[in-house]
Symmetry: C2
Subunit: 191 residues, 2 copies
């Protein structure tokens, strides 16, 4: 198989192990077993465990970026914002997987320098997106400081919803998530 494809397969094996047993459970042996490979074979694609995990975390960002980029966005700003930001909520199993894996990696990034840069990159991307939509929705008459506050408010809301969806999936139906987001965007646009 394509070597780069194989690395993707291994990263997805990491995702599955992480979702099942947490990042602590993602030992080299466990990932190899999950992927149906031997340890030695895995190490032919990833020299160290750190390299493997960084690649698996990077894949989260890439996948989300790619999905958002391939989105057909309406012209109306309000509906455009909802379309894009909806895509960041864990509404189906694919996005739930990305969300849980991302959460596990960011938690470890608190103590693992190798993952910190990736976490910052992901957060910067998301915050910039929030900033852009807030600018578009509140209009130019709003004071710049308000834009900053509203950006961090939207930013925190999105991450909070994602965290809650991971922690209490039973209490966070897709309908609830979208309703909360929609309500917030309404308030943002009608002020």
């Amino acid at each position: 198989m394509d070597p780069v494809g194989r690395r993707h397969d291994l990263a997805e094996a990491v995702w599955r192990v992480v979702r099942r047993d947490g990042l602590d459970g993602a030992s080299v042996r466990a990932v190899a077993r999950e992927a149906g490979l031997s340890m030695g074979s895995l190490r032919h694609y990833f020299g160290t465990q750190s390299e493997l995990l960084v690649f698996a975390m990077r894949l989260v960002i890439d996948r989300i970026e790619q999905r958002v980029a391939s989105l057909r966005v309406p012209d109306d700003p309000r509906r455009a914002a909802e379309t894009v930001l909806r895509e960041l909520l864990p509404l189906d199993d694919e996005r739930r997987a990305e969300n849980e894996v991302w959460l596990a990696f960011t938690a470890r990034a608190l103590v693992d320098p190798a993952l910190r840069a990736l976490r910052d990159e992901g957060y910067d991307l998301l915050r910039d997106a929030c900033l852009g939509w807030v600018r578009l929705l509140v209009g130019p008459e709003r004071a710049p400081v308000d834009v900053d506050v509203e950006t961090d408010r939207l930013f925190a809301l999105l991450d909070g919803l994602a965290v809650h969806a991971a922690m209490r999936p039973a209490h966070c139906s897709p309908e609830l998530l979208t309703t909360v987001l929609s309500r917030h965007l309404d308030d943002l646009a009608t002020r």
Copy 2:
């Protein structure tokens, strides 16, 4: 020393290790070393590692509850809400510690059944608090479904702010956190 006091000391040693090296780093040996005790001695107070970690996580809830309970709350609902909810934000180092430790434990609760009940307990307490303040602030003329949506919105905002404060402390000054909360409560009260 008082045995119960000793258990508290050990739990605080867990906190320090968790903040420094993550929950993965909180091995029995590391915690014992941090507390200046031998492994065997630690195991006299906590028979298993799981018991130790559960106690340390429980302490997070207890500490926050205790701090909130000892709060002098203004009569005005809007100011009362801000006073109490402010107390849940990581505005000083004591609350930052609680926040980071709580985050680490909830992340592990995703794959560790022993911690799940405590995570649920903490989340239920926080959501109930949000529900109460939303009811008080929006008034009785609001539809019940709106109250639910606004509750989960406030709930997600608070947790999102806490997560961001832990992940990017440089970008989340106490002023920013309180401003965002205050803005949100304003919107809630003036609708």
